[in-house]
Symmetry: C2
Subunit: 320 residues, 2 copies
């Protein structure tokens, strides 16, 4: 539920005057996305998304994100394409925020992902990984293993925030992740946040990947680990091995997984669970009461972390 | 910022199957509107708004609202037109809520209303009043004078909610309003909530009136009183007599005001200020902490009420 910044009329018109997208017909704030303010623009030439980047996005990272969308879209990945102004620039400012207009993608994100959705996602993710191989920019994943300890410490500083036994569990898990985190897996551009609300479908056909604002240079298999957590557990916490199998088979239909990547999956999945657990915990503890976005429950990810800790063999993921 | 209810995919598709509006291309929650959940639907045949009615709207009132929009749209008033399903019905249910699809209106609501916006609004309001004259349904205004005392009492019950001097002032004002409220002014269908975010413009030309969910049968001049408060004060609290003059001259270009209506305006404006003051005060005190819509500050309306109390002559409103 996110429109954090209102745009005064005159500013909006002056801003749009810098683009060749025709007269504005309507502009509606969109109640989706947590990090930024998003508006749906209808103009004479079509429909677009206007994003105002709020404080969580570092301005220095924006050229990476926009160039990445340009790069992937040019290689046929269905993702938002930045609209460049008449001066050639895709990034400018309005209402005191950095802002960009991107193309509108049709489709709906699945409220109840199916096995076919998972298969399509796997294939699209692998195509995106391949398409990003010749992308020239790099961006470190600041929410990977080295970023987790500061988040855990900040959450533990909040008095009474975490029960002792959970804190011990998280500290023990974090130590192990820091010790064993791989360093030599195949790397490239990953999305790093492929949750269902960032993937659009028309029926069961994937029609778009959106929200590249956590994209970074990291292990390809880590992207799979994030998606495994986000797509393959049911709302009651149970693991759906059929969905996992289809996610991986979709992926491998477009890019083969090296044995080291497969072997690392349980640990990567524990790490991916830790990452979302910690950011949710932090938001839970520090989000202002009047925040427009309701913080998500971190405990869901504690359960997922424990599940992966119990994995002895990747056949439990439907992999062979 | 309002999407209170998510619609599961299958339910949305089953629901849309009851309309002849073509294949769904996209569905986005809209971060506007306070009372209901609103979604922008893009289909093969165009763009629509899907509204799910949340608890504040009484289901028994929905036929009145939808029939009114049908009636006004048929008479050329630029307002959302309910889309009827293949079974002829405009109202049905989805995701446990009553719901309706209406046509999409182009235009933007003015963040900073100008005198021209006020003139256009006055004229459109008068045309709407005239167009509603032969509307056969009636709905009492449950937020008019008889509805205010229960709201004030509920707010005063909340310990420490209102300073003593303000409570005395409101009780005194309410007594006077109850005693002097007119009963014989020209009546008909009014919108009763014509705030800037319910009026769309393309440039300075009015392109739409939306959100008829407070519409009711009441004094035409009360609609003007609501708009006077909502459009003719600047953000610093000062009264802009030029905007008021243009609001009234726009109105009178389409419908003449009887002397009794003009004479009643200061009292109606005090009542309209009381109405929004009390509902805001109630929401302020009783809205759940995690509400998606931030309660609006009631004190703005205390200032407006005091301003109108000081009016000795309608020339202060730019009326002659």
């Amino acid at each position: 539920m996110a429109v954090y910044t209102e745009i005064p009329d005159e500013e909006l018109h002056a801003f749009l005057g810098q683009y060749a997208i025709g007269r504005l017909i309507a502009c509606k704030g969109i109640a989706e996305g947590i990090e930024n303010s998003n508006f749906l623009l209808v103009t004479e030439t079509g429909t677009y998304i206007l994003t105002l980047y709020e404080k969580r996005v570092k301005p220095a990272d924006l050229p990476f994100f926009l160039a990445l969308m340009d790069h992937l879209a040019a290689r046929g990945i269905p993702c938002p394409t930045p609209v460049h102004g008449v001066d050639g620039r895709a990034l400018r400012s309005v209402a005191g925020r950095m802002a960009a207009i991107v193309t509108f993608l049709s489709g709906l994100w699945p409220r109840r992902p199916t096995v076919l959705h998972c298969q399509e996602l796997g294939a699209a993710m692998a195509r995106m990984h391949e398409a990003g191989r010749d992308f020239p920019l790099e961006r470190a994943n600041d929410l990977s293993v080295t970023g987790w300890r500061p988040l855990l410490q900040a959450s533990c500083r909040k008095r009474g925030s975490i029960a002792d036994d959970l804190r011990f569990e998280l500290e023990h898990e974090l130590k192990l992740l820091e010790r064993d985190w791989p360093s030599a897996l195949p790397k490239g551009v990953i999305h790093a946040d492929l949750f269902p609300d960032n993937v659009f479908y028309e029926g069961e056909r994937l029609s778009g990947l959106i929200d590249f604002y956590f994209a970074c240079t990291d292990f390809f298999a880590y992207d799979l680990a994030v998606a495994l957590n986000a797509w393959c557990f049911e709302t009651d916490g149970s693991f759906n091995v059929t969905k996992a199998r289809r996610l991986f088979s979709g992926y491998r239909s477009e890019r083969s997984l090296a044995p080291a990547e497969i072997e690392a999956l349980p640990l990567l999945a524990r790490g991916a669970a830790m990452r979302f657990l910690l950011t949710r915990l932090y938001d839970w503890l520090y989000a202002p009461k009047n925040a427009l976005a309701t913080p998500k429950n971190p405990m869901e990810y504690v359960q997922k972390m424990r599940f992966h800790r119990g994995i002895r063999d990747v056949r439990s993921y439907g992999l062979d």
